[in-house]
């Protein structure tokens, strides 16, 4: 019995793994995809699908900016349920407001269109905002997608170019140029580990924490909200190290439903919705948009963001493991940065000049 041989074995078909598989298959590689559960059924399914350019971490912004260009290709694909709603960042008081101009400039410097919005403009853009807000920043090119369906489409794209899907299988062990699956079978070839929260199972040397988040979705209220609205403090919550924090974030789904977030907790390990965190998150939301109080909630759930120590994903070769690559640890930007992550990995695997500087995401940085 011969072991099937591939040019790249992608372990994990969340949005990051699926993007890598599709990019590799598109480049002519013989690709295998190993996924135990539903395609895009892990944290990919739990998140907001927000394509967002965020200031605060230059390397993160660079990866986002690189990725957002490729996301535009999905605008007309029905599977993406693409909505070009833009992002409206909202400043509450003087402290928030002070950084507005700088943030707009930083985005523009990165080639992302952004503009300051004064108080009048704020309420014209989003009438449901609470009175007394200072102003904000509009990033019109940001969008939302429905990530689980995009992920399925990516896997299908890869399969259309010859990729083989090993569905219902999980990777148990890495061996030199091989991976051993849970049924004992083996696949031969270079491996790309894109297992998100399960990273430690195959690559325990790469530190990763799970950062629990809560979301809630409402019934349909078409026209209630036009943009994805975030409080200026969201980036601080995401980049910060607090054990628990909430930051206002609300998204208009193309269905007319509103998706409300966000929360971050490092110490919570169970997946149950915490009524206390939900309350904190919702009360924060009501501060910014009091009318949310009256909307009907249909469902709330949690997800775990795979989080590295410096908040940047691991993209590249795994030290001391020849032919083992990794694309994991994207915190809350997995959907945004999936295309760029995939193409960067491909550049590195094919030894092409990387389109962006890969150093900040190098897995080898953990040794330092």
């Amino acid at each position: 019995m011969s072991t099937p041989c591939f040019d790249l074995i992608v372990i994990g078909a969340g949005i990051v793994g699926a993007s890598c598989a599709a990019a590799a298959a598109d480049a002519g590689l013989r690709v295998a995809i190993v996924e135990p559960g539903p395609i895009g059924g892990g944290v990919t399914a739990a998140g907001m699908g927000h394509l967002v350019a965020m200031v605060g971490n230059p390397a993160e912004l660079a990866l986002a900016q690189y990725s957002l260009g490729f996301w535009d290709n999905w605008a007309d694909r029905p599977e993406a349920e693409f909505g070009r709603c833009g992002t409206l960042w909202v400043a509450r008081g003087e402290t928030d407001a002070a950084s507005l101009a700088t943030q707009v400039q930083r985005l523009r410097d990165a080639g992302i269109s952004a503009e300051t919005v004064d108080a009048t403009g704020l309420y014209q853009l989003e009438p449901e905002l609470a009175p007394g807000l200072y102003g904000g920043m509009l990033v019109p090119h940001d969008a939302v997608v429905y990530a689980p369906r995009v992920t399925r489409a990516l896997v299908q794209d890869a399969q259309a170019r010859g990729a083989q899907l090993f569905s219902g299988r999980s990777a148990k062990k890495l061996a030199p140029r091989q991976v051993i699956l849970d049924d004992g079978s083996r696949l031969s070839g270079p491996v790309l580990v894109a297992t998100g929260n399960a990273l430690a199972e195959l690559l325990p040397q790469l530190p990763l924490r799970q950062r629990k988040g809560h979301l809630l979705i409402t019934d349909r209220y078409p026209g209630w909200l036009r943009h994805q609205v975030l409080e200026m403090g969201y980036a601080d919550s995401a980049h910060g190290d607090a054990d628990s924090s909430v930051a206002f974030n609300v998204q208009p789904r193309p269905t007319g439903q509103l998706l409300i977030g966000s929360s971050r907790e490092f110490s919570a390990t169970d997946s149950a919705v915490s009524p206390t965190m939900l309350r904190r998150m919702l009360e924060r939301a009501f501060d910014y948009m009091p009318g949310l109080r009256d909307l009907q909630a249909l469902r709330s759930w949690t997800g775990f963001r795979p989080c590295t120590p410096d908040g940047l994903p691991y993209l590249g070769a795994v030290p001391e493991l020849p032919d083992v690559w990794v694309a994991a640890g994207h915190e809350g930007l997995g959907v945004t940065t999936a295309p760029g992550s995939a193409l960067l990995l491909l550049d590195l695997i094919l030894q092409r000049t990387p389109a962006i500087d890969p150093t900040p995401y190098a897995p080898s940085r953990v040794a330092a």
Partner: protein, 82 residues
């Protein structure tokens, strides 16, 4: 309104319903459909008991209320197919 009836407004039309009648029943008196599905299909109540959510309408400004679970009251403002 008589002693046993209430008058409510549905899409701007006055409807008289017996006390204790649901908003769903009042809407049926006017013979308008209740709501549209995501793809635009006309829908009307199915289960009559608050399970199916096909009877959702806007009552006194609040949207997405089940019409079969709310009793019609004097002066209520109802909007269907919102």
């Amino acid at each position: 309104m008589t002693a046993e009836q209430v008058r409510l407004m549905i899409n701007g039309h006055a409807v008289d319903a017996p006390i204790g009648a649901s908003v769903a029943a009042a809407i049926a008196m006017l013979d308008v459909h209740v709501r549209r599905s995501p793809s635009g299909e006309r829908r009307a109540p199915l289960c009559g008991m608050g399970v199916c959510f096909e009877c959702r309408v806007r009552i006194d400004g609040i949207a997405q209320q089940r019409a079969c679970m709310v009793e019609a009251r004097e002066g209520m403002q109802v909007r269907t197919d919102d």
